[in-house]
């Protein structure tokens, strides 16, 4: 078994601020993902990475940057926080990103922008 850790759990930012969210996994998985969860909109993929130093854009990458510093960690940066934005950001990982691979999710970071 393994675990995905996301920090911080809660993030309060100011409009225009650059904010960084971090994710660590100890599954030794190759592929990692960042999703945004909004009520009624499902899980939307922001970025994913199939190996260390790889980055692939998802459907919602505008306004975000990502970095896969090493196999176990994947960070996401909100480049300019939008006023009144409220969302949950979920990190996930899978073994090697195959079509039938299970994705394992972290507990999420809840963002609120004042």
């Amino acid at each position: 078994g393994g675990i995905i850790t996301q920090t911080p759990k809660f993030l309060i930012g100011q409009e225009g601020q650059k904010l960084t969210l971090k994710c660590q996994q100890n599954f030794n998985h190759d592929t990692m993902y960042w999703y945004r969860q909004d009520s009624g909109k499902g899980l939307r993929l922001i970025y994913y990475s199939i190996t260390e130093n790889d980055l692939q854009k998802g459907d919602l990458s505008e306004g975000y940057d990502a970095s896969r510093e090493k196999k176990s960690s994947f960070s996401l940066t909100v480049t300019s926080a939008q006023k009144n934005e409220m969302a949950v950001f979920l990190c996930a990982s899978s073994d090697w990103g195959g079509a039938q691979d299970t994705q394992y999710f972290g507990p999420g970071t809840r963002l609120l922008v004042l």
């Binding site: 995905i4 899980l43 979920l90 990103g97 079509a99 039938q100 691979d101 299970t102």
Partner: protein, 111 residues
């Protein structure tokens, strides 16, 4: 591109009644289908996924049958329990390491 459509919004059931959450997909290939469940204040986790040999996956009383002819993977359970109250996501997986998720269905089971 690929898309997944689920029963939208909130489904409210009385305990003991059958559960059916709809999921249909559009894809240019033959994808794998998944159901993920997210209980309140928890992370989403896999509930069940389709098999390559067309066996019906089952877990915790839930089952789903992949019908390629109708592009569907509906989630079913014969008798709802209070603990089944959660957010359910259907997703399809292809050859590029990505899952396409539906918008989610919130199931509320009442006594």
């Amino acid at each position: 591109g690929d898309s997944v459509t689920q029963t939208e919004g909130l489904v409210t059931l009385t305990e003991g009644l059958p559960v059916m959450l709809n999921c249909t997909y559009q894809s240019t290939y033959s994808p794998f289908l998944f159901w993920y469940v997210q209980h309140l204040n928890e992370a989403p986790k896999l509930l069940l996924k389709s098999f390559t040999d067309n066996k019906r996956p089952e877990h915790q009383g839930f089952h789903a049958t992949l019908h390629k002819s109708s592009s569907s993977f509906h989630l079913q359970k014969s008798s709802a329990q209070l603990s089944d109250s959660a957010l359910y996501y259907c997703a399809s997986g292809g050859s590029n390491a990505k899952l396409t998720f539906g918008k989610g269905t919130k199931l509320s089971v009442k006594s």
